[in-house]
């Protein structure tokens, strides 16, 4: 057994730290949160994406032939952790492109698609920004229930229907979309296909959905006779479900190191705040209840760290994580809720106000996490769905639904 990273990874960590010190001076951000909401944040995120691309970090996981660095899983892990610790924006460019579109195209895209889209993503430019449209009003956890139709007409598909909860659709140049190409199948998992949709196509209407904090992350997405060239079909027609399972696996594995990075920073801030804040003549840090709560969060933080290490190690040995990814997603959700709740209890009444006000505490980071965590726990599969996966694939229990 061995629980340390190599010298190469530690050097990378140091480099990222230095990069963050120079590039983020004076800013306080949590990675991956809300950057698509307003124009100013988005522009800053995109400027960082380009810098990360030049550093070779943006797509370090990709093979060299696709403009990546062929970085090891351990290097990717350290990058995810450290970049999130500093809250470097733009690491994911609206998530989809870096997270799974590039990797999926390498696996089952056509040569033409690879040539056209992969370099755009790797450049870190706005033309490489993607959104992903899976969910529909009647296809959430029961994702195979999608109804958006694609009917072939000559060398085009004609798309009609509605998508929803599409994050970053208002910033994206391209959409990675799941559609129904065959409605006559008995099993609803069959008859689904994956397509690349140009967001400038006529017939697309994007309507913002504000979350309860007033932040614009996701959207409604209407398709009215949208024409998509047949060359934009990804992989095999009607086999989209199986391609998607692979894409979803890419989505889940980096979650633990990313959230671990953010969470360890937040916990450090909470400790500092508790030491420096006095109440009735005593510091918060001297209150046994505060001490206990923070210690509990430290236990969860270390647990998450090791779950992250384990999955990275398994992937380095060629294992495709199934239950492990579900476990880490569910554990992140659980821990995020605990950390955010503890944080708000410690900053007290100030947890009602955001960073834009005159009186934010801990730069509004706790408040933002608190307002975000329920949404994050639903995105990419709810806790309940993750637990079903663990029950079925790790504990060997009969399907519950």
């Amino acid at each position: 057994m061995d629980f340390k990273f190599g010298e190469k990874e530690e050097r990378l960590r140091e480099e990222i730290r230095q990069f963050a010190g120079v590039e983020l001076a004076g800013r306080n951000t949590i990675a991956g949160m809300e950057e698509e909401s307003n124009d100013e944040d988005w522009e800053f995120a995109m400027s960082m994406s380009r810098k990360l691309a030049r550093k070779g970090w943006l797509t370090m996981a990709w093979p060299k032939e696709y403009g990546g660095q062929g970085a090891s899983y351990f290097e990717q892990h350290v990058y995810a952790d450290e970049a999130s610790y500093w809250g470097i924006p733009g690491t994911s460019m609206g998530v989809s492109g870096i997270g799974w579109v590039g990797l999926s195209l390498m696996l089952f895209g056509s040569d033409e698609q690879k040539k056209k889209y992969i370099p755009l993503i790797a450049s870190g430019d706005p033309d490489g920004v993607w959104c992903t449209a899976y969910s529909e009003p009647n296809a959430g956890s029961d994702f195979a229930n999608i109804q958006t139709r694609a009917v072939k007409s000559g060398d085009e598909y004609i798309l009609n229907g509605q998508k929803i909860w599409t994050s970053c659709a208002h910033r994206a140049r391209w959409c990675w979309m799941a559609v129904r190409t065959d409605a006559s199948v008995k099993k609803k998992q069959h008859g689904i296909s994956l397509m690349i949709v140009d967001m400038k196509s006529p017939g697309i209407i994007i309507k913002p959905i504000l979350n309860y904090a007033g932040v614009h992350i996701f959207n409604e997405f209407f398709l009215d006779n949208v024409r998509v060239p047949v060359t934009n079909l990804v992989g095999t027609e009607n086999r989209g479900w199986y391609h998607l399972m692979q894409s979803l696996a890419f989505e889940r594995h980096s979650m633990a190191p990313q959230f671990f990075g953010s969470a360890r920073r937040i916990l450090e801030f909470i400790v500092k705040y508790a030491r420096e804040t006095t109440y009735n003549g005593k510091t918060l840090a001297s209150d046994p209840i505060v001490r206990n709560k923070i210690a509990e969060r430290a236990i969860e933080l270390d647990t998450l760290k090791l779950f992250g290490y384990e999955i990275t190690w398994k992937m380095s040995r060629g294992v495709i994580p199934v239950y492990e990814a579900a476990r880490n997603k569910a554990y992140c959700d659980f821990f995020m809720q605990r950390l955010a709740t503890t944080g708000t209890e410690i900053i007290g009444a100030y947890s009602q106000i955001d960073r834009a006000s005159r009186w934010p505490r801990i730069m509004g980071l706790i408040t933002r996490l608190y307002m975000m965590f329920p949404g994050l726990s639903i995105a990419a599969g709810t806790d309940e769905i993750q637990k079903n996966i663990i029950g079925q694939f790790k504990l060997g229990l009969p399907r519950a639904y």
């Binding site: 057994m1 505060v290 210690a295 569910a330 504990l395």
Partner: protein, 377 residues
């Protein structure tokens, strides 16, 4: 980064599982709980022959020179099976401190005899408070010019009724204040003035009250240095806690396995109860807790083998172990239903040991406090 067990660790694990399933089934566990001695001398000798008692001793003292991680793997298996007897008390609580702080003579005298299965040891530390803080230790040892004279009372001393020797943690310097005046003594169980009385616990695990009345020990029976017992105590707290956590981690794995199997077999409403989402999610939470605990224990043990300061990670493992074991046993009984609540069912053997494990080497509050201090609070 490597989560894999070494070839030697895998062998040890398989050997331990095979040996214990034959030598120590649950009928035997229950018999030993009821017996006077609470251990089986034949099994003890066999464990010595297998090299378990001296597993991490140097070869010159009859050991095999294995490291803490190897012992963690063995403890995990012993916990999974439930293995009544003075192994933890002898090896984790006494032999390891002798290895670390004993002089050449003490090591030669005692370690070889432990490795051969010829002597049983226990640690006398807790008192009426039942705590592990230096300030909780009132048992005194006053120097009369020739001997140290021990007076006081120790509680929850595991397997004292069958022990040959004790390590006794005494307060030798009230004037020095707090931590300055602790000393650890090696005391023969048969010494004059030692009185041992078994405490009747649910686990039937041979915990005792030991009273010392004018018990004389010589200067040469000090372990480490006079008034530096805090160091010895810290070391016992570190290594002993990791090993106790490994035992608990193994026990949790057994509880999960038993409960998960039952959920697949038990039919109600014409289907296995394990197909009901509410049961599934309880099992999944149990699983995630237990896998997390296992990794936290390995991590803390690994840090110790690297010689890195690991106090916070050790306390993290213990606080987690306390909670996870209790929750696994309670949910395990609930999922089993009434059958899990009976003397005949094996689950009860694990349930009866929750509190023994929880209060051994520091309860949850103590470890949460250590974590908080370690974080700088």
């Amino acid at each position: 980064m490597d989560f894999e067990l070494s070839e030697q660790q895998n062998m040890l694990k398989t050997m331990a599982r095979d040996f214990l399933s034959v030598e120590c089934n649950k009928v035997k566990v229950r018999d030993l709980e009821e017996s006077d001695t609470n251990y089986d001398p034949k099994m003890w000798s066999k464990m010595a022959e297998l090299g378990w008692l001296g597993l991490i001793f140097p070869e010159q003292y009859g050991g095999t020179g294995a490291d803490l991680l190897d012992l963690v793997i063995l403890m995990e298996e012993m916990g999974r099976n439930i293995t009544p007897g003075p192994f933890f008390a002898t090896v984790a609580l006494c032999a390891i401190p002798i290895m670390k702080f004993g002089n050449k003579r003490q090591q030669a005298n005692y370690l070889t005899s432990i490795a051969e299965g010829k002597s049983i040891w226990s640690l006398a530390i807790e008192e009426r408070h039942g705590g592990y803080e230096a300030s909780h230790i009132n048992c005194s040892a006053d120097y009369d010019g020739k001997h140290f004279v021990i007076n006081g009372e120790k509680m929850f001393v595991p397997y004292a009724h069958i022990a040959d020797y004790f390590l006794v943690v005494c307060n030798t310097g009230k004037d020095a204040g707090g931590d300055g005046g602790l000393t650890t003594f090696i005391v023969k169980a048969k010494s004059r003035g030692v009185k041992i009385e078994k405490i009747s616990t649910f686990a039937g695990d041979g915990q005792c009250r030991v009273r010392f009345r004018n018990v004389k020990v010589s200067r040469s029976d000090v372990l480490g240095r006079i008034n530096s017992g805090r160091k010895v105590l810290d070391m016992i707290m570190q290594w002993g806690t990791v090993l106790k956590c490994a035992e608990v981690s193994g026990a949790c794995q057994a509880v999960l396995e038993m409960t998960n199997n039952y959920a697949k077999e038990r039919i109600q409403f014409d289907k296995p109860i394990g197909s009901l989402m509410v049961i599934q999610h309880q099992l999944v939470d149990m699983f995630t807790d237990i896998e997390g605990l296992q990794y936290l224990v390995y991590y803390a043990a690994w840090l110790l083998t690297q010689g890195v300061k690991a106090d916070v990670q050790i306390s993290i493992a213990k606080a987690k172990a306390n909670k996870v074991y209790q929750r696994a046993c309670i949910d395990g009984v609930k999922i089993h239903g009434a059958i899990g609540f009976t003397m005949d069912h094996d689950l009860g053997c694990y349930f009866r040991r929750i509190k023994t494990a929880e209060f051994m080497l520091g309860d949850t509050s103590l470890h949460l406090e250590k974590i908080a201090s370690g974080l700088g609070l």
